[in-house]
Amino acid sequence: MIETLVRGLGNGSVYALLALGFVIIYKATRVISFAQPAFMIAGAVAVSYLAELTGFYLAVLCAALLVAGIALVIERIAIRPMVGRPVFVIAIISLGIDVVVRVVANGFIGTDVRQVGDPWGFSLVTVAGVAVQQRWIAMFLTAAVLVGLLFLFFRHTRYGLAMRAAAYDQETALAQGVSVGMVFALSWGLAGGLAAIAGTFVGTGQGVDQLTWIIALKALPAIIVGGLDSLGGAVLGGLAIGVVESLAQSYQGEVAPWLGQNFAVVTPYAVMLVVLLVRPYGLFGTPEVERV
């Protein structure tokens, strides 16, 4: 039971990091970027190559910066010209970006599984009498530190203030001297970096292969559960999705075998549907107020 929960929290914190990327972009630009899976894979692939040269920790840092850089360039080329166009169009463009970047990144993976060279692997550590995998703990702690830093960033820095202002009202922010273009770029860069780190953690232990990108889409239920525009909701949604998925993985075979094996893989989407039927704007999202 405890192991299941820890595994859920570990995976959940990866979803939370990815979900934060989605929410940051959504708050700044009102668009869901479907390009996050590609950035996640790009990050994991970059780490798997860099780790052989520089060691794991430096590789993670370099990969996060590298992917953030790629995200910045892509934002400038493909997204910025579309400011003011319908959000659906921009979302579909990000879907196109995802396809392109992902195929390129997968090309670097090849047909085998690539290891990211993490120091944890599948080794266990005993905490209070329960043996849990070290990597779950590493994921949880890293995510906690990053989330803390992000909240400090939004609360206490000029750029964080600018991003909050732009998220609140782009035109008014522009009138107050906030460079909204910079906010767009920053949000894509931040999301790309977070996705790269998340990708590295997805790759710990089992490594990355051609199908790893699907994991990133589980962050979508997380943001829907939490509410599209709530940073705290994204973190809680991610953790909740992780725990539910982990519980389903352990117990669904006994409790509800008629759902079929591997049901755990799609539990996030099932949870999402249920939550949306009850609360259309997620648990912490703000309902859209319509002015006619």
């Binding site: 396809v99 949306l276 259309p280």
Partner: protein, 376 residues
Amino acid sequence: MTHTDRKVRIWGRPLLYTSYAQDMALFDTRAKKLWCGGLVLFALALSQVLVDHTLELLATALVAAIGAIGLNLVTGYAGQVSLGHAFFLAIGAYTAAALSGDPAGRTLGFGVTNLLIWLPAAGLVAALAGVLVAPLATRLRGLYLAIVTLGLVFLGEHVFKEWDDLTGGPGVGRPAAAPELFGWRLDRPGPLGSREQQLYLLVLVVLVVFAVGARNLARSRIGRGFAAIRDRDIAAEVMGVPLTRYKVLAFGVSSFYAGCAGALLYTVSGGYFEAGSFSLLLSVQYIAMVLIGGVATVSGSIAGALFITLLSPVTRELPALLPFISGDSTQTPNVFQVETVLYGLLIIVFLVFEPRGLFGLWLRVRTYWKSWPFSY
């Protein structure tokens, strides 16, 4: 009032309408009528000219066009973003395959092989699924809806992979629906020619029926309601468009088209299909067809479907021209990667430079010649 109802056609002035009915007609200009007739005749003639392999490809593209028209109805005309088209295609494909399947076979089958029964049935079951999903659409807007429909694809994929009796299980698959018309098997050589020729003609007829149906729907009261919802749903509601009913209708009709397309898709190409085919990539392909073809146009949907479906045989030829691209899926720059990258790049390029798609390119050409020698 009375004099505007007179239908007068003045020779040489095709855009002069003297009545509202003329303005709203299915073929509002004579040129359009002639060209459409000509195109259909040309398509019919192709069945006698082309080799069987090319006809099979074209038939697949025409089936995809039916699905693309369906997606365009809900996403283009009614503005409800759906990434779940693959799910509805799957429901249609499995309904048809199960109805016409061999009752004594390995997979579920009822032995009703008549095309006139399983084709509408596939559409109706898919439409029912669409109507069941629609309540979500009425509660959700924009990107929330996109994500929910994306979740639908994953849930559907799971169900189809687990339900071995119906689908034959992942990696194994089952035979597609058998096209039979009162004892006449269309997938065997018959009075109209080879298997490919007969299937091509069947699909062409179905496509024309569906395309005219969609065009008529779009120019009717319902179509105008869809457009009003797309442009601003609250304004539409204020003007008296029943929002819930029209959204449910949009999803239902779109899913009906998807179901019929799914039912025919694997009958035409190969005759065998597998649960893993209905993935997110299939949805993305249909989105690409609609966007590259032209949002909220029927002719654009057909053009986009032809373009996207014929893209893959064209990329298969690339290794002959560019030796560094491999035809082997285990090598790194291979044709499958090139093809997928092309989907993505084409979506981006069209949305950035020509949001009206291929239809927009056609409009540009038309405007150029119409206003020649002026540039406007």
